[in-house]
Amino acid sequence: MVAFIVSAIRLGMTFLFGSTGETITEKSGHLNLGIPGVMCVGASCGCFAEYLYLTAAKRSVEPILAVLIPILATLLGGALMGLIYSFLTVTLRCNQNVTGLTLTTFGVGVSDFMIAKTGAIYSKGSKYFTAALPFADDLGWFGKIFFSHGILIYLAIAIALISSFVLSKTRIGLNLRSVGENPATADAAGINVARYRYMATCIGCAIAGLGGLSFVMDYLHGNWEYCIDAIGWLAIALVIFTVWKPNLGIIGSIVFGALYIASSYITGVSFASKELFKMLPYIVTIVVLIFTSIRDKKENQPPQSLGLPYFREER
């Protein structure tokens, strides 16, 4: 049971990065369907940086650098993807869906390329990411559940909490939400809509990128053998599931993680039925989506101008 919870948390946190990033992006009115690609690119950049560092450092590896360098590279890679997306959708006014899907194609290509070229060689780097807090073992199951995780897990929670705070309790958050809800009003209030959309998308993509890194380095222990775009789509599902609230995302992501791996921990589930269990996160999301649209409670709806472009009226 403890092992199940620990696993669910570890998997859930990779979703959490993605969903927090996508929530921030969507709050600005951008429905970025490139998130799976962004997470792939994030993972690729981080892994590649780790590979370079470990190669360069040979035996004198600084654990802190071994974690920090890939994280920075991932953030950079993710932000760059966000920049491309924003440039195309805001500056060049392209269709958001088409741009996002193209970025996914591109990102999946990049990560597949990485897998094929460098394969599952990241387990060496992975141990720096999965290092638990030293006192975790002394605290029994409690320690296992709360303190046995690698740094990225705590980072995910921290980012989700900070994002939630920024979105609901700061002026920047207020402005950002107004951009996603009603850009014309935001514009009239003197808010630079384009700048907010650029910033939110780049920051959101950078965070989402970390999800890719976390999945490869933490959850897979560096054994990167298959494409990870599925976690991107789960992250998008999670945004809906948590009705665009990053703090709910912490619980939501653990629920998703649990649903995703539940089949392996329940005895008596056939090999085949496990696949049906993996369907659950999507089914649950669909139910939530339909349910919120029926209830039509304004607070739980997608940002009103999600997916819509905004240009100041042409006269």
Binding site: N175, R177, E181, A189
Partner: protein, 514 residues
């Protein structure tokens, strides 16, 4: 008292292309004063106010704030001069609370503190007597509450020159009374207030002085205490101008469409039509006059089957069967299936009447495409019709396959009116069919309407130019705030008479309802 005006405009001129929106307008407002700006639709009131609030920039003229010349090039500049504008269409975020909307976009120093902001909002409400729950979400608010948020928003930003663009258009009489009491308190507090309105009784009630605009020109300013509604109406509508629109005597008019006591409300629950009854006769043009937004659109859409009615009946006297059909609560399709040939030229030409991205031929089919059993479209007849309309109405277009979005306003309208007339209607409704059109196109439209009338069609013409209404129509139905305020004979009525009816908000006291 300080004699310098809070804001003074000198010889402001603004043109859009060849259209002069404001010509040499000068006016001023002092602190502790309410100035009404009065004028018909299209007289340039809103353009003028937009220049004060930084949305447009004047071509000529100067603006002085507190005696110093000011350059207002953006809404931000206006805000720095402590000018606050309350637009007719609210700019609010639905899912935000009142306070969140009020502080949105502010760049205050210090930490973001919603609690403090709420207290400040509360203080403003106390001071001026607003009733506002700072936590309430916009989407749960009534129109009047939303307006309160907008006003508090500009006060919160420290505005001491307030411009309200037709603030009473969307309010109930009780809400208007509340608004006025708030405005009076702000006046006592030394704010300079400009209120744009059409309603004479409100002008008389609330303002200290009245400035009148007509067709972009500044007519004059009078002290409210020294004037009356008749004088203001005359200033507003001006002398009658002869347009020489051809008008024939109606040939044996028979009732075609009878509207009985219809009521309807808009999405916000505001009553848009209140017990409206009238009869449109075949072989006659019935004009509908009224301030914009008094329920004209709802009325036409109700007849066309596009607007849900709360109560009432729309009866169609079918000349083929001689029976009366009730069109109420029927869809446009069902109405057509009844054999009712109802044509409708809506106000929103490219958003409703036509599809901008489709070519003229395809737009011809909009009304008729579903005829016949075949699953395929029949483009031959629409093409012929398109060619015919292009020839007959002199539509300027490269060919019939040009998307209508590329045509000029007048040509778009010819295409739309041409199509609606081609359906050989028995009732033809046209909402502002000459808005934005040049003189020649306008006369083409008048002639088309006249032709239809002579063919025995019941024509309903919603217009804004009183001169046109008086010369084109046979009878004029005047509506104000969703009520019928009178029906006049267009051959004998005067502009003043109609102007007064238009600006009246209620009919009860004058007993005209019988």
């Amino acid at each position: 008292m300080d004699k310098t005006a809070a804001i003074e405009l000198k010889n402001i001129t603004k043109t859009f292309g060849s259209v002069v929106a404001n010509k040499q307008v000068s006016l001023s407002v002092n602190r502790g004063e309410i100035l009404s700006i009065l004028g018909e639709n299209g007289s340039g009131k809103t353009t003028l106010m937009n220049m004060i609030s930084g949305i447009y920039f004047p071509d000529e003229g100067e603006i002085f704030i507190n005696g110093e010349e000011a350059v207002i090039a953006s809404p931000k500049d206006a805000f720095q001069y402590k000018i606050g504008m309350i637009h007719q269409h609210f700019k609010l975020v639905d899912v935000f609370s009142a306070t969140e909307n009020i502080v949105l976009g502010l760049e205050e120093k210090g930490r973001y503190n919603l609690k403090e902001a709420e207290q400040k909002v509360h203080a403003i409400c106390e001071q001026y007597g607003f009733e506002l729950d700072p936590h309430k979400k916009i989407y749960t608010m009534s129109v009047s509450e939303k307006q309160t948020v907008e006003i508090v928003k500009v006060l919160y930003r420290g505005a001491d020159i307030l411009i309200l663009d037709e603030p009473t258009a969307v309010l109930t009489p009780i809400e208007i009374r509340k608004l006025f009491s708030v405005l009076r308190k702000m006046r006592e507090d030394g704010k300079a207030i400009i209120i744009i309105t059409h309603k004479l009784n409100e002008v008389m009630e609330i303002s200290d002085r009245v400035s009148v605009l007509r067709k972009g020109e500044y007519i004059g300013t009078v002290n409210t205490a020294e004037t009356d509604e008749a004088e203001l109406t005359e200033m507003m509508v001006g002398k009658k101008i002869s347009l020489n629109i051809h008008r024939s005597e109606p040939k044996n008019p028979t009732p075609r469409l009878e509207v009985h006591h219809i009521n309807c409300s808009n999405r916000e629950g505001v009553k848009m039509l209140d017990d409206v009854s009238f009869t449109a006769q075949a072989g006659e043009i019935l004009g509908i006059a009224g301030i914009a937004g008094s329920g004209q659109r709802e009325l036409l859409e109700a007849i066309a089957g596009l607007q849900k009615l709360d109560s009432g009946a729309v009866l169609y006297n079918n000349p083929q069967t001689g029976k009366m059909d009730n069109l109420c609560s029927k869809t446009p399709l069902q109405i057509r299936e009844l054999g009712v040939r109802l044509s409708f030229v809506p106000e929103d030409r490219l958003g409703m009447g036509l599809v901008g991205n489709m070519d003229i031929v395809d737009n011809m089919m909009l009304r008729s495409y579903s005829k016949g059993k075949s699953m395929f479209l029949e483009r031959k007849a629409p093409r012929d019709l398109a060619e015919h309309i292009i020839d007959e109405l002199e539509v300027v277009t490269p060919n019939a396959n040009t998307p209508v979005r590329r045509l000029s306003g007048g040509n778009v309208q010819k295409v739309l009116v041409g199509r609606e007339i081609a359906a050989a209607p028995t009732v033809l409704m046209a909402a502002y069919p000459v808005r934005g059109l040049d003189i020649n196109s306008s006369y083409t439209i008048y002639n088309l309407l006249n032709e239809q009338k002579e063919n025995g069609v019941a024509v309903i013409f919603v217009g804004e130019d009183l001169d046109v209404l008086l010369e084109l129509c046979d009878r004029i139905l005047v509506i104000g705030s969703g009520h019928v305020t009178g029906v006049v004979d267009a051959r004998t009525a005067t502009k003043e008479e109609i102007g007064l009816l238009m600006t009246k908000t209620t009919v009860a006291e004058k007993g005209e309802r019988s």
